[in-house]
Symmetry: C2
Subunit: 402 residues, 2 copies
């Protein structure tokens, strides 16, 4: 007998029929002799309905009240799923975040899980109940309802799996697993059977929005085996776990695209010590995260510094550096939002030479110009024009997988 945590996102419980479908998956797992804890998100677009209600009344409402409002969404889902499970003849107990023992920081709308006390979950399991937990929410030490921010339900599921030493944590979604590229764009993209935590982290960061990063980090920390799979097909998904020898035989595990970025270039910066530090400290003061950084080789006592930021922070970055220009005498600041970052990720990269060369060759063959390059142990990223993004993904994918 195993303890399995299953997480279902909003689309999986969007209407009565889908809720019944989830109840079927859950009870099938239970009927095989497993203990089951289910984590669900709010139904379909219900969170948007609630946000619309807020916007009509007060777009600048306090974050505490935003959390109070949004947490109602999962409350509805867990009750409906419990009812659907009862309908199939099983005992079910729904628990809100605070009832399930989720203690969080008090950073409303983006709280961090501090501790999960699963005693109520365990007590319900001991009474042979299937337990349904509201994802995305918890309670601060002040007794206020909090939410975990984007992808919070994934994190809730992994946190329960960690606290209860679950044997498996299944993340049900609307795709069949993790693919070597976006299957909507690259027809011959393949589903991976396995992927390591590190590769998954790189892919998540790079815009393959299958799993939330915080949840993968937590799974890695507590060594929880994840499975990403579809709630609609009954096919096995992709297992995310510690790197194995078998994985290293594959050169790369995926090609990812991120178009939500912008490039900022500051030209004619004086080539003196500390000049880059001063630039990036101004950005971090404004909470602007910088990704790829490129610095030109200086000549005539001047150099150019380029970096990428999230697209929606592009203008903020330019504004934050206006005084810098005046203070330190740069020539100009350029903002380019029409760029895309294409990355390949693979645990095998470390031990195989020529991966970068193969990627650049693919881009050259497709006549795509590279603006910036960045590498890590298991990742190579290039910055190109946004218009070339899909073509680039396909070209690289074909090069490695055909």
């Amino acid at each position: 007998m195993s303890l399995i945590v299953q997480k279902f996102g909003g689309t999986s419980v969007a209407n009565a029929e889908r809720v019944m479908n989830v109840a079927k998956i859950v009870t099938d797992t239970f009927a095989k002799g497993n203990d089951v804890v289910v984590v669900v998100s709010a139904q379909g677009d219900f969170t948007d309905v609630l946000v619309d209600k807020q916007m009509e009344i007060n777009p600048r409402a306090s974050k505490r009240e935003q959390d109070m409002l949004l947490a109602a969404g999962e409350q509805i889902s867990i009750a409906l799923l419990a009812m659907a499970i009862e309908k199939l003849g099983y005992h079910a107990t729904s628990l809100l975040g605070w009832q399930a023992g989720f203690q969080t920081s008090s950073a409303h709308t983006n709280a961090r899980i501090k501790r999960v006390d699963p005693s109520r979950i365990r007590a319900a399991i001991d009474r042979h109940n299937i337990v349904i937990v509201a994802g995305f929410q918890g309670l601060s030490r002040f007794g206020d309802v909090t939410t975990l921010g984007r992808g919070g339900s994934d994190t809730s599921a992994v946190a329960i799996a960690a606290a209860m030493h679950a044997d498996l944590c299944q993340i049900y979604t609307d795709v069949e697993g993790v693919f070597t590229a976006d299957p909507r764009k690259v027809p011959n993209a393949r589903k991976l059977d396995e992927i390591s935590y590190d590769e998954m982290l790189e892919l998540a960061t790079l815009g393959a929005q299958v799993l939330n990063n915080r949840s993968v980090e937590m799974a890695k920390k507590y060594n929880i085996e994840l499975e990403v799979l579809s709630s609609l097909t009954h096919a096995p998904g992709t297992i995310v776990k510690e790197r194995t020898k078998a994985m290293e035989k594959m050169l790369i595990s995926g090609v990812a695209k991120d178009t939500e970025i912008a490039r900022v270039s500051v030209t004619g910066v004086p080539n003196i010590p500390g000049i880059a530090f001063k630039m990036f400290s101004r950005l971090s003061k404004k909470d602007i995260n910088v990704d790829i950084i490129l610095q030109s080789i200086g000549h005539d006592g001047k150099k150019d510094i380029s970096f990428t930021v999230a697209k929606n922070r592009g203008q903020d970055a330019v504004d934050a550096l206006k005084d810098y220009m005046t203070d330190h005498g740069a020539d100009e600041i350029l903002l380019d939002t029409n760029v895309a970052k294409i990355s390949i990720v693979g645990a095998g990269m470390e031990s195989h030479a020529g991966v970068a060369t193969k990627m650049f060759e693919a881009l050259y063959d497709a006549q795509i110009n590279i603006h910036m390059i960045s590498t890590s142990e298991i990742k190579i990223s290039v910055l190109i024009n946004a218009d070339d993004a899909d073509k680039a993904v396909k070209a690289i994918h074909d090069k490695f997988f055909d």
Copy 2:
């Protein structure tokens, strides 16, 4: 400085505009130097939306899960009202039933309030916050979310007023107060300035659905002054309080109609001791509440017994008595659902003779036949044909108030 509890029903917070209207009333009260605790119900027909969601999935879901589902409705309302109050520049704190200290029995969907611990409410008031509490809900000793059943938000408001020794508990609704008759049916019905708890209890029981009975009983027990008033007009409403001399000058305070009843008649019952007891014990075993009872004067060793029950229990009552007929030898059981109970209520009745005569005269003038009569210290009820109900109310009202 006073402590005022204000309760707003679902229609008062049905949309963004109405929520802002309620926020205006609340903040006006606060700005006059009062501490304010607000109790709200779920928005408009949102409870129906949730019930529909349940019905699609499992009409026979457990009551625990029904409570979990329904409690989400008030959670949305309190957050939205808090946001609206913030929008007007005031500090607001919304609290769920359990956060506001509502400890209830574990009778899901119809829980009783056992205790209110208002320490969190008081702490928020001390921080100069307007506190918004989710009505209708609490927490059982097992830590499960409960709901209080019909009219539960009124009871929530009075319970807070009692626990905090509030100076006034205002129940905002869609009518301007308590009227001498239904103003939609009787154009010259008058709004009462004051009414006693006992009269209000009789009127509530009799179908003038302004205030929930449990809330009036609790207000009487803890001597909480209630005001029933409209959230749309700014007119003073009706004060419900201990009986005063002034009230007794008025002969009657209202005429009420109840068409949700049925009459059951059992004819030819043997006229021997214990025969009525045996009849009504069978009904109480089935949880059927009997209201008016009429027993004919026996002759030839036989008598007839008639009684009224809620319309939706009429057939149950007949079924419960089928064996009784066989066991004790009655002639037949008749069920009449086409009846109405018309009642007059008045604290002055006790000290004024001729009230009943005046009522019967009004019905005689209108040529309305009386089937049954029932009286208490401050109430006289008659059973008539349902078709005559509105005519009867008008005739009696005209007789007493014109």
